[in-house]
C-alpha cells in the first residue's frame, strides 16, 4: 500500500540520477572543456581543482572531459549489448518455455554451453572473424549474456502457461508465435526488467574486463569501465581516476535500477 508512495520516490531519484548521465551524454556530444584525447606531459595527475573538475589522468588528459565523452560508449555498449542479448534470449527463452520437450532440452544445453564458455574467448573469435570493431564485440557480448535472459524468460513462461488467459488464447486458436510475443511477453516485464538492469551493469564491467585482451572500446576512446580498468595502476596516487568513473557508473546503474523498481511496483502493485 505504502509502497506506491515509495515507488514514486524511486521514480524521482532514479530519473534524477539518469538525468545526470543524460546531461553528461548530451554535453559530451557537443562540447568538452578540453580535448578528449589531448595529452600533455605538463599536466599529469592533477588532483580535482577549478580548472580540472575531475582532475587529470596519467597522460594529462582532463578526466571531466573524458567522463563527458565516455557516456556515449558506455551507453552504446551496454544498451546495444543488452538489446542483442534480450532479442536472442527472448526468442529462445519463449520457445523453450512454451514448447518444452526436445526444443527446451536443445536450447538449455546450448545455453548451458555458452554460459560455461569463456566470454572473452568468444569476443576474441568474433574479432578474429569480423575484425576488431566495437560492434562485433557488442554482438559477442550479446551472445554471452543471452542465456541469462533466456533462463528468466523460460521459467516465467512456464509459470504463465497455466494461467487461464493463456488457456483461453489457446482455445481461441491464437497462433503460438502471437501467444508468445503478444500474450506472454508483456507479462514478463516485471521479471525481465531487473535482469536487464543487472545485464547493463554486468555488460559495462565485462567490456572493461575485455580490455585486458585489447577488446572492447579502443583507446583513446573511453568508456567508464575502461577508464576504471586503466585507473587501476594509479589507484593509490590518483584515486580520483577511480572515483569519478565509478560515480558515473553508480549514477547510471542506480538510476536504471530505481526506475525499474518503480516500473515493477507500479505494474505489480496494480494487479494486486
Amino acid at each position: 500500500m505504502r509502497s506506491s508512495a515509495n515507488s514514486k520516490r524511486y521514480l524521482y531519484i532514479g530519473s534524477a540520477l539518469l538525468a545526470i548521465v543524460a546531461v553528461f551524454f548530451i554535453i559530451g556530444l557537443i562540447w568538452t572543456p578540453y580535448g578528449i584525447n589531448s595529452t600533455d606531459s605538463a599536466s599529469k595527475f592533477i588532483a580535482p581543482c577549478a580548472e580540472h573538475l575531475f582532475g587529470t589522468d596519467n597522460l594529462g588528459r582532463d578526466v571531466f572531459s573524458r567522463c563527458l565523452a565516455a557516456a556515449r560508449y558506455t551507453l552504446l555498449v551496454s544498451f546495444a549489448g543488452v538489446a542483442v542479448a534480450l532479442v536472442i534470449g527472448t526468442i529462445t527463452g519463449l520457445l523453450a518455455g512454451y514448447y518444452g520437450g526436445i526444443i527446451d532440452k536443445v536450447i538449455m544445453v546450448l545455453s548451458n554451453s555458452i554460459m560455461c564458455f569463456p566470454g572473452i574467448l568468444l569476443a576474441l573469435v568474433a574479432v578474429a572473424i569480423f575484425g576488431p570493431s566495437l560492434y562485433n564485440v557488442i554482438w559477442a557480448l550479446g551472445l554471452v549474456f543471452a542465456p541469462t535472459f533466456a533462463r528468466v524468460y523460460r521459467s516465467s513462461t512456464i509459470e504463465l502457461l497455466g494461467r487461464d488467459y493463456i488457456l483461453s488464447a489457446k482455445v481461441m486458436k491464437v497462433n503460438p508465435v502471437r501467444i508468445m510475443f503478444v500474450h506472454i511477453l508483456p507479462n514478463l516485464m516485471p521479471q525481465i526488467l531487473p535482469a536487464v538492469i543487472i545485464g547493463l551493469a554486468n555488460m559495462t564491467l565485462f567490456e572493461s574486463g575485455m580490455s585486458y585482451l585489447g577488446l572492447g572500446v579502443q583507446p583513446p576512446a573511453a568508456s567508464y569501465g575502461k577508464m576504471l580498468a586503466d585507473a587501476q595502476s594509479y589507484m593509490v596516487t590518483a584515486p580520483w581516476l577511480i572515483f569519478f568513473p565509478t560515480l558515473m557508473l553508480v549514477c547510471y546503474i542506480l538510476g536504471l535500477y530505481f526506475v525499474s523498481e518503480w516500473v515493477r511496483t507500479s505494474v505489480n502493485g496494480g494487479s494486486k
Partner: protein, 505 residues
C-alpha cells in the same frame, strides 16, 4: 620491453654506463667488509616462467632467473664486462677461427658431480644445435689437458660473447628442463605454476665468497600494479622494470630506486610495403610531426632517451652522434612533405598495438594526438599478444605498430633485421645499399672499418626514415633497503649472488 638476448662487448659498455643516471653505487662503500650472510629475498616477476632448459630458453623473464642457476665459460658482470667464469682463460687464433678455453678446476654441479672438459664439449655441441647464433661452431675438441678448442665455420672476432652459453652435465640434455642442474650460485629448488620459483644457496659454489642469501624467491605477480602493491607492503623485496610513476611513489627511506639505460628501440614501426608508408616523404613527415621529448615525459616521466634512428646511442662508437636532432619536431616541414607526397589533407591510418603492453598503448595514444596536428588521423587497434605475434610480426599484415625492439648488446644484432630478406624484417624495409653493408659486416675483421660501415648504414636508414623511432627506455628497479648489493645490468639479468642483507636480521 619484452624479450631479448643480450651479450655485451666489453669495451662498448663503459659508454652505456656513462648515462645511467643512478647506478648501483650506493652500497659499495660499506659492503665488502661487514658482509652479512644468510637471509632471504623475494623478487617480483610479472611473467609466468616457462622454460628452464638453458639452451632452448627464449623468454627474457626466464633467462634473467636462470642466470643464477647456469653458467657459461664466460659471464657478464653488471658493467657489461665479460669475465672468465667456468673457463679461466681463452686463447683466440690469429685468424679468429679457433678459440681455446682453459676449464676452471674444482667446480661442481648442483648434483655434486665435478665439471670436466667432457661436460663442456657436450654442452657446446648441444648449444650449437639449439641456439642459432652458435651454429657458427663447426667443431669442439677436448684437448685432454683440461682445455677445449672450438673451431668456427667462418672467422668472427665477436664470438666470445656467445660463450656465455650454459654448461650442463654431460648427457643431461633430455632432462635438464626438469632437473635444472647447473653450476651457478643458486640451486633451483622448486617451481609452482602461477606461484613462482624458489632458489636456494649453492653451498659448493666455486667462488666461496658468493652468494650471500640462503634463499631467493621469484614470485609471479598478476601484473605490475599488484606487484607494486606487494612491493610496498613488503611482500616483495626487489621489483624490476618499474615505471617512473610507480618508482616516484616509493618512500626513499624504505626503497632504493635504480635506473639504467637499456639497449631497446621503441618506435612507431611503419609497414614500408603498404601505402602511404611506401613513400619516403610520408615517413619523413611523420618523423618531423612528433615530439619525442614530450612522449618520453608523458609516458616514461622522462625515463627514456629520445631516438632519431634505429640504433640507441648506448651502442657507442657504432652510433653516429651527428645524426642527433635530424628529426626534431618541425610541423611545417612535416606538412610540406605531406603536401609534396599528395597528402596535404593528411590521411587515415591504423596503429596496431599489443594490448598487454600499457606503455605501447599509451605511446600510441600520445602519437595519435600529435599526428592529428598534421592532419593524420590515427586509429588505435589493440590486439592480444598472440594475435600481434601472428598477424603483425610473423604475418606482416598491418599498417603500423608501436613496439619495442630488443637485441643483443651488439650493433650487428641491432641492424641485421633491416636486411631486406631477413625473417624478422617485419617492417618490409628495403634498401640495396643497406643490404650490401649488412652482408659485408661479419666478413670485415678491422674494427675501424666496421664502425664506419655502421655509421654509413645508419645514415641511409635515417634518410629513409625507415620508421618513427621514439626512445630507448630506461630500466628501473626498486630494492627494499633491507637488502643491499643489488646490481642492475644493462640486459635481462637478475643477479642475486651479490645481494645481501643490509644488516643481520
Amino acid at each position: 620491453m619484452h624479450n631479448s638476448r643480450r651479450k655485451v662487448i666489453a669495451g662498448a659498455l663503459m659508454l652505456a654506463l656513462s648515462f645511467s643516471a643512478v647506478s648501483c653505487s650506493q652500497d659499495n662503500g660499506e659492503a665488502q667488509d661487514g658482509a652479512v650472510y644468510g637471509g632471504e629475498a623475494v623478487v617480483g616477476i610479472t611473467q609466468e616462467p616457462m622454460i628452464f632448459d638453458p639452451h632452448t630458453v627464449e623468454a627474457a623473464g626466464d633467462k634473467e632467473i636462470l642466470f643464477n642457476v647456469y653458467e657459461g665459460l664466460y659471464k657478464y658482470d653488471s658493467t657489461g664486462t665479460l669475465n672468465p667464469c667456468l673457463a679461466t682463460d681463452v686463447v683466440i687464433s690469429d685468424d679468429a677461427s679457433e678459440y681455446t678455453f682453459t676449464i676452471r678446476e674444482g667446480v661442481t654441479f648442483h648434483d655434486g658431480s665435478e665439471l670436466d672438459a667432457g661436460d663442456v664439449v657436450y654442452s657446446l655441441n648441444r648449444a650449437a644445435e639449439l641456439i642459432p647464433e652458435l651454429s657458427f661452431i663447426e667443431d669442439v675438441t677436448d684437448n685432454g689437458d683440461n682445455t677445449v678448442t672450438v673451431t668456427l665455420a667462418t672467422p668472427n672476432s665477436e664470438m666470445l660473447s656467445y660463450f656465455t652459453a650454459a654448461i650442463i652435465p654431460e648427457d643431461s640434455g633430455d632432462t635438464i628442463g626438469d632437473t635444472r642442474i647447473g653450476t651457478g650460485p643458486f640451486v633451483f629448488t622448486s617451481y609452482e605454476a602461477g606461484i613462482g620459483i624458489v632458489l636456494t644457496r649453492n653451498e659448493n659454489y666455486w667462488n666461496p665468497e658468493l652468494p650471500y642469501l640462503d634463499k631467493v624467491t621469484f614470485k609471479v605477480c598478476a601484473d605490475m600494479d599488484s606487484g607494486f602493491l606487494e612491493l610496498q607492503s613488503g611482500a616483495i623485496d626487489i621489483f624490476p622494470y618499474l615505471t617512473t610513476d610507480k618508482s616516484s611513489q616509493l618512500d626513499p627511506a624504505q626503497f632504493n630506486v635504480l635506473e639504467l639505460g637499456s639497449n631497446m628501440v621503441q618506435g612507431l614501426f611503419l609497414n614500408n610495403a603498404v601505402a602511404p608508408f611506401d613513400d619516403v616523404r610520408v615517413r619523413q613527415a611523420m618523423n618531423y610531426a612528433i615530439d619525442r621529448e614530450e612522449i618520453v615525459n608523458l609516458i616514461m616521466d622522462g625515463a627514456g632517451l629520445p631516438l632519431t634512428t634505429a640504433m640507441s646511442p648506448v651502442m657507442g662508437e657504432a652510433y653516429d652522434t651527428s645524426l642527433d636532432g635530424t628529426y626534431d619536431q618541425d610541423i611545417e616541414q612535416a606538412q610540406a612533405l605531406l603536401a609534396e607526397a599528395g597528402y596535404a589533407d593528411g590521411f587515415d591510418m591504423t596503429i596496431t598495438v599489443p594490448s598487454n603492453y600499457l606503455v605501447h598503448v599509451n605511446t600510441a595514444v600520445a602519437l595519435a594526438d600529435q599526428l592529428s596536428a598534421v592532419g593524420i588521423n590515427a586509429t588505435i587497434e589493440q590486439v592480444d599478444w598472440a594475435t600481434w605475434l601472428d598477424r603483425v610480426y610473423a604475418g606482416r599484415d598491418y599498417e603500423s605498430t608501436v613496439i619495442c625492439l630488443t637485441s643483443d648488446y651488439a650493433p650487428y644484432d641491432v641492424i641485421n633485421r633491416y636486411i631486406s630478406t631477413a625473417d624478422n624484417n617485419f617492417i618490409n624495409y628495403s634498401n640495396p645499399n643497406v643490404d650490401e653493408i649488412i652482408t659485408n659486416l661479419p666478413l670485415t675483421i678491422d674494427d675501424g672499418e666496421r664502425i664506419s660501415m655502421y655509421r654509413e648504414l645508419l645514415g641511409y636508414m635515417t634518410e629513409d626514415a625507415a620508421s618513427v623511432y621514439i626512445q630507448d627506455p630506461y630500466s628501473i628497479c626498486a630494492v627494499n633497503n633491507r637488502l643491499t648489493g643489488y646490481e642492475l645490468y644493462p640486459m635481462y639479468v637478475q643477479d642475486m649472488s651479490t645481494v645481501r642483507l643490509a644488516t643481520a636480521e
